[in-house]
């Protein structure tokens, strides 16, 4: 499998806080890469750096063979990187369909074609019956699907998903997980931040573990689950003394 994304020594500090320090990893085409780490590990900052929302201090991001480090978010989207946000950002006063049409307009010139494409994607995320509902009227789980649909409408090669199951009730989670797996089946490469360890272990091909802005492991789920640094980061180190 070839690399779709390569991240090399990516670093970013905010004042004295090193949000990301020399993060290096790659993403293969068609895989699901999980990103884990305790709160404040730098996961969302990493997404912001890759998608151009935050400028990096050092390092580079290579999409296929193109250096996309520190270029504008809208250009990165047009190059094929879609994303969702940890804190949901729907266009609240617009309908679900209108939200997704905005995404479809990245590639489609004709509004009717964009509308039809948006409808297909809304159907794909199982919200077709809600297409005329305003985004503010949807539940959290439905808004997660909305964001996913909106990002998918841009025809991404790589999709970055920030906590897709975060903040939704237990009954909604299996549907969302199934949706992520459906993306993989459709050939979309996914990088997903996730706190639910069972889910991330089940769906990921590889996992990148961060702690305090540093990469502490980058391996298969099986190896990650046995990695002492990862276990320490999540559970803390037992002081023998």
């Amino acid at each position: 499998m070839s690399n779709l994304l390569k991240v090399e020594n990516l670093s970013r500090s905010f004042g004295g806080i090193h949000a990301n320090s020399d993060i290096t990893f790659d993403v293969n085409e068609g895989e699901i890469l999980g990103v884990i780490g305790p709160n404040g590990a730098g996961k969302s900052t990493l997404f912001d750096l890759i998608t151009g929302f935050t400028k990096s201090d050092k390092g580079q991001v290579i999409l296929r063979d193109k250096n996309i480090t520190n270029i504008r978010p809208d250009l990165i989207c047009r190059l094929g990187v879609g994303r969702t946000f940890q804190k949901l950002k729907p266009f609240a006063d617009q309908t679900l369909l209108e939200n997704v049409i905005v995404g479809a307009l990245v590639k489609e010139k004709n509004l009717k074609v964009a509308r039809d494409k948006a409808l297909e994607i809304i159907d794909f995320v199982d919200l077709i019956e809600k297409r005329h509902h305003y985004a503010k009227e949807l539940s959290t789980g439905q808004r997660k699907r909305l964001e996913l649909a909106r990002a998918l409408a841009t025809d991404p090669k790589l999709l970055l998903m920030d906590e897709v199951t975060g903040g939704v009730d237990q009954r909604t989670i299996p549907g969302l997980v199934e949706l992520v797996l459906k993306l993989k089946k459709n050939g979309i490469t996914v990088v997903t931040i996730e706190h639910n360890m069972k889910i991330i272990m089940d769906i990921s091909d590889r996992i990148l573990a961060l702690n305090q802005g540093k990469r502490i492991a980058f391996d298969t789920p099986k190896n990650i689950s046995q990695n002492t640094q990862v276990i320490d980061a999540y559970l803390g180190t037992v002081d023998a003394a």
């Binding site: 504008r72 266009f91 159907d123 005329h132």
Partner: protein, 340 residues
Amino acid sequence: MNLISKELLQAKNEPLNYFNKNSLIIIGIVVLGLFLYPFISPSKFALHLLMMIFMHAVMSQSWNVLAGFSGQISLGHAIFFGIGAYASGYFYTKFQITPWFGIIIGIAISAFIALLIGVPMLRLKGHYFAIATLLIGISFQVIFQRWPEVGASAGLYVPINRDSPWLSMQFHKNKVAYYYITLVFFIITFFLVWLLNRSKLGYRLKAIRDQSEAASSLGIHVSKYKVIAFIISAMIMAPMGSIYAQYVLIIDPNNTFSADISILVLLISVMGGVGNIWGPIIGSSILIPISEFSRIYFGGTGRSIDLIIYGILIILICIFRPSGIVSLIPRSFREREKVK
């Protein structure tokens, strides 16, 4: 994504834009009534009042395109009203260029000024942008107050022409022609904004308004589209300044670049409903008569009674109807609603 559900098929067969039949009939009747109105010999004041409503609705719609569609609050929109007034007035006074062409010059200059100040300023967000527009608006007023070529503080007196009313856009016998000119601008503006609302540009602007970061993640160059909205907004505002100049025939910086104009167009939109194309019409239909009647009953500037009433109404709107009076209209009549 290969299996097409029945619901999806049905959704694809739905029209792209919904037209509410009842709304269309009501709009048609109102427009026809407005065109026929001068034939029932209305008073000069009635025509003047309607003209002012049309003009302020267009000016407020201009503000609404920027604030309601792209989410930027401008407190200096009088700039473009003033530029429009001075463009037609100056070129007519100095070079006898017909104000009709002056309107086009005003639109072009306003678009250029919007581009010039929009590029650096629209990188600012929220309150910072609002404050910057307020200060730029005041700066324009000060510049024109001290610019001898355009009459400085005294302003320009547009020469009276009784020979060719249509060419000079001066109608001294009655207000009917002015009424029709403002009505036509009013209808054209609202139709264009209605189209804008449903265009690709409209989708992008509303995305920026609601969530600029999300819009950016969907391939929208936020700064560029904000500047485009600012330019469109300026181009809508300028002709009203030109028409006003030919109506009152006196242009001075205190009247045309006044912050009062900037605040008034904002109040009209807020009262009617920001981000809704009907908001400016509703707001203008309520606030302008209050202003005109207070002038009649309290004299001169109305002893600012109109401003007190505005204030009370705006407070009530903000408390009870933050989405504006338009939100009182049943959803089924509003433009964005789907007819099932």
